[in-house]
């Protein structure tokens, strides 16, 4: 069996099936929805960081832009929600295109510039002068499309798409070439790889899934403020989850979200007073002892983690 078929059957299919069935047996649908959103975002970070080495500290910019893309389509054009989610993806890609010059920066410079770009988009959207278009700082209320059940289905579909992209990257010479670019761009060019093109494609794919996630998030919550959908907590969480599990794999970010976001909610429910402390210590321990993520426990032993 080709490895990508194996990955689709053994990882993607069970995960998607689980999240399709869970709402029937577990009542906290918002929590399930958030899990799906963070799985998408962590895999989106995986696409850009794991495969190309760019750390997107302002990743939430695409998410928020997608949410507002959705809201504007619904408010001003009465677009049906599923179509508006697709537009949200397009908005993510367009913002990604606008930000491609950032790819000339590397390391911390890229991370900081990306963070600044996300803040710029936030302040643009939240500008009171744009109230007639974005509702500015006053937030949007999209009562007409409110349908959490369908929005959840949409989120699971986007998760499937995102995982499909990662499975492709993990099993194709395209994904391998991206990793080669991450390791050494000059050498990658000498292997015949068009470095700029590859980086842009990965960047846009990553922007696409975040835009879609933002759109479906807007659909699900239907009432939100700029500060909600542009909250940098989304970037930080997605990055921490992806790193905790281990990037450039399919499993790493999944494991990262399930464990860390699981623990996050567990502590939040049981011992909220120690919440920040326990969570902070956990993350520090990770960075100190497992810098390459949980999957490195296996890869160190020579096991190949999909």
């Amino acid at each position: 069996m080709p490895s990508f078929v194996r990955h689709l059957l053994l990882i993607v299919a069970p995960l998607i099936a689980a999240f399709a069935i869970l709402p029937g047996v577990y009542d906290n649908h918002l929590l399930l929805f958030n899990f799906v959103i963070f799985l998408i975002l962590a895999q989106g970070v995986n696409i850009i960081y794991g495969f190309t080495g760019y750390l997107p500290f302002g990743y939430v910019g695409f998410f928020g832009a997608g949410a507002y893309g959705f809201a504007i389509m619904v408010m001003h054009f009465q677009t049906p929600a599923p179509l508006a989610v697709l537009v949200a993806g397009v908005v993510g890609v367009l913002l990604g295109l606008l930000l491609t010059p950032l790819l000339r920066l590397s390391g911390a410079y890229f991370a900081i510039a990306n963070l600044a770009a996300a803040l710029a988009v936030l302040h643009f959207v939240a500008n009171p002068a744009l109230e007639s278009i974005t509702k500015g700082p006053y937030g949007v209320a999209l009562n007409g499309t409110f349908n959490p059940t369908l929005a959840y289905v949409g989120a699971v579909i986007i998760l499937a798409l995102t995982l499909g992209i990662v499975v492709f990257l993990r099993n194709s010479s395209f994904g391998m070439a991206l990793q080669a670019v991450r390791e050494d761009a000059v050498s990658a060019a000498m292997a015949g790889v068009n470095v700029v093109k590859m980086r842009v494609i990965a960047w846009l794919a990553s922007a696409l899934v975040a835009g879609l996630a933002g759109g479906v998030f807007a659909w699900y919550v239907s009432v939100f403020y700029p500060d909600n959908v542009f909250s940098n907590d989304f970037s930080i969480f997605a990055i921490v989850f992806a790193l905790f599990g281990g990037v450039a794999t399919i499993m790493g970010p999944i494991v990262g979200v399930l464990i860390l976001y699981g623990v996050y909610n567990l502590i939040g429910f049981t011992t909220p007073q120690y919440f920040q402390l326990i969570y902070g210590v956990l993350i520090m321990a990770l960075v100190l002892f497992l810098p390459a993520g949980l999957v490195s426990l296996a890869t160190r032993r020579g096991w190949n983690v999909p």
Binding site: M176, A180, D184, S187, V193
Partner: protein, 243 residues
């Protein structure tokens, strides 16, 4: 002597500046298919810079590069690779976290289009990397990493190959072994430019040498003649690299 075929690469008046410093200052030479050309000169004379410009890492500031009848100055590296130019690096640059096999697979998949790529297992076998195929390139020692650079270059089926101090750090047995490989590659029709400080090695494999100093050539001919030219002797005098 060099085959009298038309040169595959002609370098004419090449200039490369870093700030106000002229790393290349009007360098001119040519190389033909099947020929091994040595590029020698003291530290800092511009040998690596010449290779960097020819392989598209830097655009030239002046002068022309003619490859296969077309001007290639300033073209992006991957495009030059697709036209048949490739190289190794003085400090090897493998994809450290990828396995040795994956390092080569990238080049096989993205190298020259329209020519059948060589067989991966043969390449790894020939350059003594087969036993490390599934280990990360980071596990290789420096000379093995240089061989991996070479194998990655060969995987793209180059017609012009630039070798930057490939032999540095090899023991005498390994030197003979790699010399044999380089000669065989030239016999199969590749044009090869060899940058090397080891004069014995240059003597053994090159048809012709260019001696560089301060960014331009000061001699062109056989090494046997070069070592008798006063200007060449002067440039190397006191230099730490003897024969």
């Amino acid at each position: 002597m060099s085959p009298d075929a038309k040169p595959i690469l002609t370098v004419n008046g090449l200039v490369k500046r870093f700030g106000g410093f002229h790393a290349l200052d009007g360098l001119s030479f040519h190389v033909s298919s099947g020929e091994i050309l040595g590029l020698v000169g003291p530290n800092g004379s511009g040998k690596t810079t010449a290779i960097n410009v020819i392989s598209g890492l830097y655009a030239p500031d002046d002068g022309t590069l003619t490859y296969d009848g077309a001007s290639i100055g300033g073209l992006a590296s991957h495009k030059l690779v697709h036209r048949g130019i490739n190289r190794t690096f003085q400090i090897p640059k493998p994809f450290l976290s990828l396995t040795v096999r994956q390092n080569v697979e990238v080049a096989l998949a993205y190298g020259r289009v329209g020519v059948a790529p060589p067989k991966l297992s043969d390449l790894l076998e020939q350059y003594h990397l087969a036993e490390f195929a599934d280990r990360p390139a980071a596990d290789l020692n420096s000379s093995q990493q240089k061989m991996l650079d070479l194998v990655r270059a060969l995987a793209t089926r180059p017609r012009l190959l630039l070798l930057d101090e490939l032999a540095a750090g090899l023991n005498p047995t390994e030197l003979d072994w790699i010399a044999g490989h380089i000669k065989a590659l030239a016999q199969s029709g590749l044009a090869i430019i060899v940058v090397e400080h080891l004069m014995g090695f240059i003597e053994q494999i090159t048809d012709r040498v260019i001696v560089m100093n301060a960014g331009k050539e000061i001699f062109e001919g056989t090494l046997a003649v070069a070592v008798k030219v006063p200007q060449v002797i002067e440039v190397f005098l006191g230099g730490e690299h003897g024969a």
